[in-house]
């Protein structure tokens, strides 16, 4: 589903993802380096594929999708989603700042903190987890700043440009979040 909650911090705003965001997402995904870090998108999607992606998110009751925009001026920056596993009170989080001009400036970190607060406070989850490519140093540093703890190294978990790459499994559990 598309989140109806708007979450706001100093520099970012998370708001419902809209159909009108798709052209920009699709265009950004032409960037090989961006897709490499996202890990889940092998080729730039077509406009139709991007629309299908959006509809599948919208229809899935266990997904919450937001678009990320700059708090000042409302420039679209990327998106973030929670994939819920309600039975076990956990979620996987996936985040992307798609516009490379905004990389390394704290927008992702701030967005992630908003999502974590929402997950633990509003959704009452026990655990939020993710997997990052082991060489995605910038992302891992950001996740650690948000309180994610390394739980394991998954050997040859992904294949990037034909080569095996390890992934780091990370998570924030409720007690981590409460002690933040």
């Amino acid at each position: 589903m598309i989140s109806e909650s708007i979450l706001t911090a100093k520099n970012v705003r998370l708001r419902p993802a809209e159909e009108s965001d798709l052209a920009q997402f699709q265009c950004w995904l032409a960037d090989d380096e961006l897709r490499r870090w996202l890990g889940s998108v092998n080729e730039q999607p077509s406009v139709a594929e991007e629309f299908d992606w959006y509809m599948s998110k919208r229809q899935d009751p266990d997904i919450i999708l937001w678009s990320i925009e700059a708090a000042d001026g409302g420039t679209l920056l990327g998106n973030v989603e929670l994939r819920l596993s309600p039975l076990n009170r956990r979620a996987e989080v996936a985040i992307g700042i798609f516009d490379r001009q905004y990389w390394g400036k704290g927008y992702g970190t701030e967005s992630m903190r908003l999502v974590l607060d929402y997950a633990f406070r509003e959704l009452k989850l026990n655990r939020v987890e993710l997997k990052a490519a082991e060489d995605n140093v910038r992302a891992i540093r950001s996740y650690e700043k948000c309180g994610f703890v390394r739980e394991g190294l998954l050997r040859e978990h992904r294949q990037i440009e034909g080569r095996p790459v390890d992934s780091v499994a990370m998570a924030v559990i409720r007690s981590d979040w409460e002690a933040r």
Partner: protein
């Protein structure tokens, strides 16, 4: 479930055959047994009726990223199930799921044999490179069997699931085709 098709895989103690609609009552019985259910990732589901099993099966059977087998003894008695979940061809990996539903067959090597068979299928036929699984941190018998098959401990996932309403840590393990 396109890959399994009519595949029949033979081991030393067991045969794996594709799961079919007629197996539903069997699955409902296995999943309804509290001792079996204790270890299942979905043990928190409220009800293991035939209707719940049918709903789950309607999802599983049409999912191209899964293969699902029934484990039979060599004389044709179904004793459990094994399958691959989240088969990812691009990253050449999948997750393994296994349960021996007939308790009197626990601890006799059937699960280990079934895993060896599906490992060969995953690596040789599907050309995967990594097979992973998660299991309850206190599932000593399971972990011992996984290690026998070459699975290596990669990390502890804290509060990964609920069991009887309480958070439970789980172990993530994996075996690579080169191991």
């Amino acid at each position: 479930m396109t890959v399994a098709g009519d595949v029949r895989l033979e081991g030393e103690l067991v045969v794996l055959r594709p799961r079919v609609e007629d197996d539903l009552p069997l699955f409902a019985r296995w999943h309804g047994d509290p001792d079996v259910r204790h270890w299942l990732h979905m043990s928190e589901m409220p009800d293991q009726s035939l209707e719940v099993e049918r709903q789950r099966w309607s999802v599983v059977r049409n999912d191209p990223t899964r293969v699902s087998f029934v484990i039979e003894t060599l004389d044709g008695v179904p004793i459990g199930n094994i399958g691959l979940i989240g088969i990812d061809v691009a990253h050449r990996r999948a997750e393994l799921g296994i349960a021996i539903g007939e308790k009197d067959h626990w601890g006799r090597g059937y699960g280990t044999d079934a895993m060896r068979v599906i490992l060969r299928f995953a690596f040789d036929t599907l050309n995967l490179r990594r097979l992973e699984l998660i299991t309850d941190i206190d599932n000593e018998r399971g972990i011992r069997a996984y290690e026998k098959c070459g699975f290596v401990r990669e990390g502890v996932l804290r509060a990964k699931r609920l069991r009887y309403g309480e958070p439970l840590d789980m172990l993530i393990m994996a075996v690579l085709s080169e191991d």
